[in-house]
Symmetry: D2
Subunit: 301 residues, 4 copies
């Protein structure tokens, strides 16, 4: 269970204190505030705060004086227009702050998205908890044979059991040793900033992560994508649902133009145009490589 | 007057709609929301939205689960510690969104602060208003004779009158011509994206500007400083007051460590140490240039 | 002429001093170094420095030890793969520094691209030159009747002449007054930081602008686009040619995937798929708005 | 040894290929190019490329046409002035690209500096080497008793031996299991993206890291500081020496104003002023907390 009773009590207390505000509020997101949405075995995503809503995107795009009194139908059209034409700055006017608990190897991928604010739990200052990500049996996969940076079919039987045994045993032994080294019982006790390096990267860490909606969409496009590693994708999937409840119009446009959208190269769109005119086009006379051709055929069929 | 009755009505309407929220609220800033704080002759600063408060800074620094239940006295000490030791990330966890109306030449200085989000009123899309910054008589200064990028004593009498006449006449003529060129009455009418280039940079523009507290402090340190140009400093001064009402503990630490603080070089601190030991130190044996020495003497006297 | 004889002499001197270096060099860009490529009537783009070449992109993608010994054909495939799959970080490993002279209203659009380094000529510190952008007769257009932020057909005859007269006369008068106000001949002389505000935004400024290749591509995609304002597009066009000489493989991939590429929404690609199966699709049963449908039909025909 | 003979051969080949360039060159840094400067037991820092030199900082500050023909003495004064007054943009005009091999727990601290470009070796794509950081005996310290996030006295005797044994044994066992899990000999073989999570954070990774001089100085100020963790400080120390050879004037100013400089709060400078006037000041009548007072006394004695 990722949340202790004490932590749950703090969350409940925070949810009990509604205050009046003149700011834009997003009722769809208020219902999620502070709650822990479980991800993987010990992880979670919690919304801590947010700024703005769908109307705020339009308000900024129009540099208007009021809260945005235009009809929702106009807002929807404007948001779709902004998304379609890559007008990113109005989406930057919304901001969200999340508390995320996640394995270190996932955190290392996540942090590559630099345009965000982060405060991570410090293992120099504090002692980490004994919480490690151990994959569920239906997520222990073999190396992909077609994609150098992906996973293929599921491991089964003895091999799967062996992997799980190793991960569990090594995690626990590393943590036992971590505790032994930092203990000051009968010895000085190793500095925490050194002892932590014995811990494997499936240990959980946590951070506060704050990002604007434009950069969050960029993160989600890459990390909720089918090519993303499963262990980060499940976080992105949870965040997608939260965003859909926060800014439903913007999220719908994002889904249509980014997640569901397809980018064609100049060569690719040329092939499509020829095909639409009834021409029979092959890879050979497309000017495309085998990989590009395969991706194009997947996209249009 | 910078605000029309219609705009004021929109502002009043926005201020009439309090909603319950579970988020952190800053009562000191709620009272300012949407209101136009006048700056210069036609400019203003309006707070449109904000995220976080003093407690949110501590909450992020501690990566805590609740809203921050520690005593205010602890929060104050922690915030001062963070400020003193340049731990900037917790301050990034607060965010503010402003609507600012400002002369174009001020906007050009302002925009150099890149770590912020901006949506500016588009003079390609819309027609600018006839509003120009004309300095008040007590802010028409001569070029400084000691500082190449500053102003010196006040202009007076005929010279001051001549300057004001020029600024007013040129602004109005440029605007008349702008209107004539874009008019489609009896002619095609020049494109707005071209006609705007005839307008001088004392014309007012406006934008939505969103920034985190750390980067806002950096902006304020440079722009509320005595060396900043007066016309941007008055905006910074207004924002300082808003921030003091928003995050009083963080603002107090900022005032003490940044605005009121002094940075000594290694050579400078060496001079101070020698003086404190009773030694008589001169510029010659300080190893400092005349300019550095003068700045040091100013700082310690 | 944008360059004075003294400036040209400085440029010639800089071009005369070849030095040996162990760094990656791009012969195609060395030939352009320091030279002023004229843009508009008084503007220019000059390459001041650069870091990296096509091989450096691959070297970073592979985190390799040597300069990149793989065959050029492999580098080309890798670069196309990186571009196609939005792997942006290897392109960030190339950097270019430009000296640009440009009208202020163009500079104001340009600076919205925040992920770059800028040092602009200071009109607080220095006196601006009497150089204003006056459009050539074939670039004075009417406001577009279909696009709120674009220009339409050419102005002709008396209207065109009137516009040019206004722009020239207002520019010169503003500059005369600027000189009169800052003069200390028989008067104190207005501070430069104030006097500059009388100048219209077709005056030229200049800056050093440094950017990595990924962010430069983003800039070029938006500013070399047909929808960009002509006066910034001509700068982007010149930079495109410089980049093609600098990193020919990366530029070719950029042209194919970004400039020549097309982004379809989920709804759009669904229409294409149905059409390719021989189905007759209309806007009504596409689920798309009139604007989206028109853009889609343009893209595929 | 951090470098294999094959890698050394690649480095030697790169160093053998001097090319003529018209760009600014820094002879002091050319001598370091590509060479591996060893850090810790298996790590290194290699300079891969650079842009600019001391003159380039001045050239950008002056927005000049030539390479910078002013006397070196003028450049020195200008650079000191820019550093003293926090004019950061001219320093951003220099850029350096490093290849760094470092333990994962160091990489996790390093990456918090977001304004930089990074390409890291991918453990999804490739197999990591069996290289772990094992501290030298004179760097195994106990937890500090005064500083929650630091280390104190050295561990000795049996305790030190026990720690080293644990770190070595756990690293090797984890790597053995990593190899066993990914092996496809008689089994499918676990995906690399999963197997890597069994590895502790003292394993080495490597990346290309590119940063401008201003942001590098910020990194060095924090990481070459006495309060930084030893394992990242040794990297910062090596980079300091490289920067001193690259831009000697800028580095000297950085040392004097940043590394050797001291920041006083408003309260602190008030105390100094009173002391300089001969007043006896105590913590009680300073208005400062015990911690602030202690830091102040350290700074001035």
């Amino acid at each position: 269970m990722p949340i202790t009773p004490e932590q749950q009590a703090e969350i409940d207390a925070a949810r009990a204190q509604a205050q009046p505000t003149l700011r834009a509020t997003a009722p769809g997101l208020e219902q999620h505030l502070y709650k822990a949405h479980q991800v993987l075995d010990h992880g979670f995503v919690r919304v801590i705060d947010y700024m703005g809503d769908d109307a705020a995107i339009c308000q900024a795009a129009r540099v208007s004086y009021g809260k945005g009194t235009k009809a929702v139908s106009n807002d929807k059209g404007l948001i779709r227009y902004l998304m379609r034409h890559w007008h990113s700055t109005p989406f930057e006017m919304c901001e969200i702050k999340l508390h995320v608990k996640l394995p270190v190897f996932v955190a290392r991928q996540w942090i590559r998205h630099r345009t965000a604010n982060v405060n991570e739990y410090s293992a120099r200052y504090s002692i980490l908890d004994r919480e490690f990500y151990i994959p569920a049996p239906d997520h222990i996969n073999a190396q992909s044979v077609v994609n150098n940076q992906g996973r293929g079919e599921l491991l089964e039987g003895e091999e799967a059991a062996r992997v799980l045994d190793i991960l569990k045993a090594d995690s626990n032994r590393a943590y036992d040793h971590y505790e032994q080294m930092i203990s000051d019982d009968g010895q000085k006790g190793l500095a925490r900033e050194l002892a932590r390096m014995n811990l494997p990267t499936n240990i959980y860490t946590q951070w506060y992560w704050k990002v604007d909606l434009h950069n969050l969409f960029h993160f989600l496009r890459l990390r909720a994508d089918a090519h993303a590693q499963y262990e980060i994708r499940v976080y992105a999937d949870v965040i997608c649902k939260l965003v859909a409840d926060w800014v439903p119009l913007a999220y719908e446009a994002f889904e249509d133009y980014r997640m569901g959208g397809v980018q064609f190269s100049g060569k690719g769109i040329d092939v499509v145009r020829r095909m639409l005119k009834g021409e029979k086009v092959t890879q050979e006379d497309s000017g495309m490589s085998a990989g590009e051709w395969r991706e194009l055929m997947n996209a249009i069929s």
